[in-house]
């Protein structure tokens, strides 16, 4: 029992090693300490939860009832206000998973593994929402629930990458082995992100190109752009709040397990 990996202490000493981690490393180490993160996370929580509720509700009411209908899509365009934020968050969440993967593989941060385990299911849910709302939008507009074009297929691949990650990180009796395998999957799977982003430019697809880009002016009226941005902000805060809460719970659960194991050994 004493050899169990769960007994591995989640504490600052865990990360200290003989090698000099460098400046980025030491900055990371400051916040990679679960105890310090716990305090930070608790203080941060209201600043995530309240904007999430207020902005999401405001954005959805604005999108559903106050914004104008599209000239050709009619009211179906309102699905955009939930579909586009879900799509952005799906990619953003996977990027976060990949960053956690690098932190885990290179710096061996336990907190990065805990975070990856909590981001995975939330990201998978958001990707599912993106696919579902896209399907509900595609049926009346395009005339098809689903087509195998490059954009839709690459997002479906992202969904399976998420599912694989969720399963892999919990697949081993030794959590550190699962974390290592999942981190490799997260980092390798990140190649799908530029494919999703540029699929609508590289290949001809049924999915339309992006309306909002970093380089060009949005091809959207401001009366539709504002509710979209409010919804995106609100959903992003919600995503962060949910991951934050889950991560805090995960740290407490780990601590409880350690105490129980220590008690069993004493």
């Amino acid at each position: 029992m004493s050899a169990s990996p769960l007994a591995e202490p989640v504490s600052a000493q865990d990360h200290g090693s003989a090698t000099n981690p460098g400046r980025i490393g030491s900055l990371l180490h400051r916040y990679a300490n679960p105890g310090r993160f716990l305090r930070l996370s608790e203080r941060l929580s209201p600043f995530l939860v309240w904007p999430a509720i207020v902005l999401s509700v405001a954005g959805m009411v604005w999108g559903l009832f106050l914004s104008p209908a599209d000239w050709q899509q009619g009211d179906a365009v309102r699905i955009m206000y939930v579909h586009v934020p879900a799509a952005w968050l799906a990619s953003l969440g996977y990027a976060a998973l990949a960053v956690c993967g690098v932190l885990s593989l290179v710096w061996r941060h336990r907190l990065a593994d805990l975070a990856a385990a909590e981001i995975g299911p939330v990201g998978a849910s958001v990707t599912f929402l993106c696919l579902l709302s896209g399907s509900l939008w595609g049926r009346p507009m395009w005339g098809a629930w689903w087509v195998w074009d490059a954009r839709l297929t690459s997002v479906l691949v992202l969904f399976f990458l998420y599912l694989g990650h969720v399963a892999l990180i919990r697949a081993f009796d030794d959590p550190s082995r699962g974390a290592r395998a999942a981190a490799i999957l997260a980092v390798a799977g990140a190649v799908d992100l530029p494919i999703i982003k540029f699929s609508v430019q590289w290949w001809n697809t049924l999915h339309q190109p992006d309306s909002i880009t970093l380089t060009g002016a949005p091809t959207m009226s401001f009366s539709m752009l504002w509710p979209l941005l409010v919804c995106t902000l609100g959903f992003s805060f919600a995503f962060a709040a949910i991951v934050n809460t889950r991560l805090r719970a995960a740290i407490l659960e780990t601590r409880t397990r350690q105490l129980l194991l220590q008690g069993a050994r004493e």
């Binding site: 005339g143 098809a144 390798a188 190649v191 339309q208």
Partner: protein, 169 residues
Amino acid sequence: MTRKTRRLWLVGGCMLGFGTATILTLQAFSTDIVFFMAPSQILAHPPAPNRTIRLGGMVVAGSLKETHEAGKPPSVSFLVTDGQDAIPVRFTGVLPDLFREGQSVVALGEMRPGGAFIASEVLAKHDETYMPKEVAEALRKSGRWDPRFGKPPSASSWDDMTVAPSRGS
């Protein structure tokens, strides 16, 4: 070189290698990844007869003809163009809501020896422009845009055109 630095290089190197492999694979299969072929592509490289392909392009203004025969679903014929060539398409069935002249569409079907495309399914491909009805109406009234001839002008010019359509530029 510390262990951490070595691991950082290792992860970076693997990402680079894996990324390159992916790019090369996608390059190799890029003709299979495209969802549809444009009329000029189809005419330049005619597909084998009876091979199901997807044809994509814009419905030519004024080319849409509907034929109603008693006891049969309505049948339509229209021209699809990519600006260079046009292919006549015939389709029997229900068209999507967004189907109209000037709209981009993707039709699934096969080329017939006469040069016509017989579609079994027609999907509408809308563009990335979103605007309220009033804006579309104003653009049309000001004479700056006719939806039957393609995409609307860029969104940054909508205000000029709708607020002061007579100002000119």
